[in-house]
């Protein structure tokens, strides 16, 4: 909004440590040539937009490859490895294939809504990139309310998913749409509250200032705020429709959900936007929790934007990891998890953080003393809360002998039908009574998946 004075690290425009030098140089040239003052705005906006769109194009292509290779390794297979070196050209081939495919539209679909949804889904992920601090001075739009902007944009993405699901006029798609709306309402709250704790602690909503805060105190905020990190990670994986919470597309239940009717490049847009959104959320986590472009003294040697991208992909790997590992929740379990665990925990965290900030402000203690104490306390707090929740509020199963019985023989009367009848239903668990009653219990007990005792081969 308000242009800030440009403070360059070095004056050399070719210094790749900060790409804003280049754009600053161009702006200076325009100013020196007495160009119209709006030209500075337009040119810098265009430059940034081109950079971000180029980055996103690369991301969409390379992330397909990364995701498939990484998940391939997790699934004990190779993943794409034929096309080009290490299969790097596979995403290009996929993209070309998707572009060639005919875009089908159901006859009864809501035409405009159906067509606009993939675009509306792609935009928020791209726009979020604009407010991120890519380097010390590399924010395309440095907003005072950067975090609010991010939250606002990511809530729009879910609306686009709903639009697609509704417009397809398909029952599965509508299920996906309804699920995504329910999840949006639920997960918006903990994710906002989680980031609120950070805002309280760092005292700013400006993303660049948050990075500077972490640089100033030499500490990534994830250490000080472990609980918000978990909450935000989980709720954003729900917002991203990734596996522990991919209920909106739920391949095995509703066969793809909101994008079940999409084909060709419309589907391709959904697919790419999903990856872009994942990178955008990873970038947010990298910025506010991991310190963005700052990494101790490394950012003086390596370009900050490279550190930032490295951090983005570290977080992105976490997303791929959970996707490759975990089964899916049921929708009611997921919503219950959000309401019954994440929201109360986030509130508790805010109270703790507020108290901590107050103490720090009032006592004026040095950061070197306060921060390690806070780290220790917050880690302990998070651990205690999680363990207590699992102990006291974890799922209860109605009948839970979590083990099997083992029978090594099925004994019956030697001359059936000639003998006295078996007493009916001795054990309530065994319908006909006799097998469970007369069989000797052998082997061992299965508890927690481990066989305890008993003769084993």
């Amino acid at each position: 909004m308000t242009p800030r004075p440009l403070t360059l690290i070095t004056d050399n425009w070719y210094d790749i440590r900060d790409l804003s030098n280049l754009s600053g140089k161009i702006e200076e040239l325009i100013r020196d040539a007495n160009g119209p003052h709006w030209a500075v705005w337009v040119v810098s906006a265009l430059l940034g937009a081109i950079g971000i769109v180029a980055f996103i194009g690369g991301v969409a292509i390379i992330n397909i490859w990364i995701e498939r290779r990484v998940v391939g390794r997790m699934q004990s297979r190779l993943g794409p490895n034929r096309l080009g070196p290490f299969g790097l050209l596979q995403p290009l081939a996929d993209a070309i294939k998707l572009m060639q495919k005919e875009v089908l539209q159901p006859k009864a679909a809501d035409g405009l809504v159906f067509s606009i949804a993939p675009i509306a889904f792609t935009v928020p992920g791209i726009v979020i990139m604009a407010v991120l601090p890519w380097g010390r001075n590399m924010s395309l739009a440095r907003l005072d309310v950067g975090i609010l902007f991010i939250l606002a944009m990511s809530s729009l993405g879910a609306l686009a998913v709903f639009t697609g699901g509704y417009g397809s006029n398909n029952k599965y798609a509508l299920f996906g749409a309804m699920r995504v709306i329910a999840m949006l309402v639920t997960y918006e709250i903990p994710s906002v509250l989680a980031l609120l704790g950070l805002v309280l602690f760092s005292g700013t909503m400006d993303l660049a200032d948050m990075v500077l805060f972490q640089e100033k105190f030499w500490i990534p905020l994830v250490l000080v705020q472990p609980l918000p990190f978990l909450i935000y990670f989980i709720s954003s994986s729900a917002e991203l429709n990734r596996t522990p919470a991919d209920l909106a597309e739920a391949e095995s239940e509703i066969a793809g959900g909101y994008h079940v009717e999409y084909s060709g490049m419309k589907f391709g847009l959904f697919y790419a936007a999903e990856l872009i959104n994942a990178v955008a959320i990873s970038a947010i986590i990298a910025t506010v929790f991991l310190g963005g472009w700052w990494f101790y003294k490394l950012d003086e040697l390596v370009p900050g934007w490279m550190i930032f991208i490295g951090k983005i992909y570290a977080v992105y790997f976490l997303f791929v990891w959970t996707r490759g590992t975990l089964p899916r929740f049921r929708i009611d379990q997921l919503l219950a998890f959000a309401w019954k665990w994440m929201t109360p925990m986030a509130f508790a965290n805010i109270i703790v953080v507020a108290a901590e900030v107050l103490i720090w402000d009032e006592t004026g203690a040095s950061a070197g003393l306060v921060l390690p104490l806070y780290i220790a306390f917050n880690m302990l707090f998070a651990g205690v809360l999680i363990v207590a929740w699992v102990r006291f509020m974890g799922p209860r199963f109605s009948r839970f002998p979590d083990r099997l019985r083992y029978f090594d023989r099925i004994d019956v009367p030697s001359l059936p039908a000639m003998r006295a009848p078996a007493p009916a239903a001795a054990a309530p668990k065994s319908g006909s009574g006799a097998p469970a009653r007369s069989a000797s219990e052998g082997g061992g007990d299965l508890r927690g998946g481990r066989l305890v005792g008993g003769p084993r081969p």
Partner: protein, 368 residues
């Protein structure tokens, strides 16, 4: 202020990622809750029972492969047993042990598939399927080594097995059952059995009461999960199963989770059986000489084996000719489906998918 809702009719299948074949479930859904379920089968109906009346007894063996194509060996075995019972044929000792080895290997392969697909239905992103398929492939490699086919093995013959095992089979088997699979099953235990999300998804989902299980003629893991200790390998031993030491795992709750754990445990028990079978594998012929166009005396025989899915029974009626007069298959997949409605009504779609996955149907066997 009650909210009025309209029930929606949703087709789950025949083209659906989680129906494991062309199986169709028409569900009336109120919100996400299922109020009524109809199953529609027959997309894979090949009328094997009619075709079999035109073919000789030996020519019918390949049909049994194509019924439960995930457990071809056990179907083969059941059919051969019924004809042997009808014609009074004795099977050599070596063939019996080989049959046991292959039937148990097939059980491992089928349960691998069932477990992986079940977790996939729970929503895991293909990873468990890949893991279990990796182990299933190794078993199928052994099949290929022995009879040249991986899926539709056509290995059992009336009076024995088609080929003796090749020389390299036993070392490979030894490596598989002693080095590879025990480690893998431990891995399954660690990854799956205690997994919180799987517990939440599968515990108390798709519950069958023991009374219902018996009344609905369920068999296999479905019956055992309900707490009924019933396994034909123990109750009605065939092919010398009574000489092996093994245990049958039995659940308490009759829910999907129990069925999954039972399958994992059964794989371990199968390993035990195979180890003993390899140990006692005798020499001698692998097959009794039986005329290719065998003509059993007029009569009928019903014989059954414990396939991975449950009790596979073959009811063969002979009129003394070279082809069976009537050939009926008791297909466990079909009969296990009779409680589908009771299990799924009142659940959400997600639970219904998990329930269907835990039944472990094979559409080839349902439709025949």
């Amino acid at each position: 202020m009650p909210i009025k809702s309209e029930p929606v009719e949703v087709n789950i299948g025949p083209q659906h990622p989680s129906t494991h074949g062309v199986f169709r479930m028409v569900a009336m859904i109120d919100g996400e809750r299922i109020t009524d379920v109809k199953m529609i089968v027959g997309y894979l109906h090949r009328s094997m029972e009619k075709l079999a009346e035109e073919r000789t007894y030996t020519q019918n063996i390949p049909f049994t492969d194509r019924m439960d194509y995930l457990a071809a060996m056990t179907s083969n075995l059941g059919y051969c047993l019924s004809v042997e019972k009808l014609a009074g044929i004795d099977v050599p000792e070596r063939a019996q042990v080989l049959r046991v080895i292959f039937a148990e290997l097939q059980r491992i392969a089928s349960h691998c598939m069932a477990t992986g697909a079940f977790i996939n239905d729970c929503g895991a992103w293909q990873t468990p399927v890949m893991y279990t398929f990796r182990d299933r492939e190794k078993v199928l490699d052994l099949f290929e080594m022995t009879c040249g086919a991986r899926i539709t093995t056509n290995y059992m013959r009336i009076g024995g097995v088609a080929f003796d095992v090749p020389d390299e089979f036993l070392p490979a088997l030894d490596m598989l059952i002693n080095d590879d699979l025990p480690f893998r099953f431990e891995e399954y235990d660690q990854l799956l059995v205690g997994n919180e999300i799987i517990l939440m998804r599968a515990r108390d989902v798709g519950v069958v009461s023991p009374e219902m299980a018996i009344n609905a003629s369920l068999s296999g893991p479905m019956l055992r999960s309900a707490g009924i200790a019933w396994d034909l390998r123990k109750a009605d031993p065939y092919s010398g199963y009574d000489q092996y030491t093994f245990e049958i795992p039995v659940g308490y709750n009759g829910d999907s989770y129990d069925r999954m754990v039972i399958r994992i445990e059964e794989m371990k028990q199968s390993l035990r059986i195979i180890r003993q079978a390899v140990h006692i594998l005798p020499g001698g012929p692998h097959k009794t000489e039986v005329p290719l166009a065998i003509r059993p005396p007029a009569g009928e025989a019903y014989s059954r084996v414990e396939s991975p899915k449950g009790e596979v029974g073959f009811y063969v009626v002979s009129d003394g000719g070279a082809a069976p007069y009537r050939w009926h298959v008791r297909a466990p997949s079909l009969i296990n489906l009779s409680v589908l409605k009771e299990m799924t009504v009142g659940q959400t779609i997600a639970d219904a998918i998990v329930t269907l996955g835990s039944i472990d149907i094979n559409v080839g066997e349902v439709d025949r």
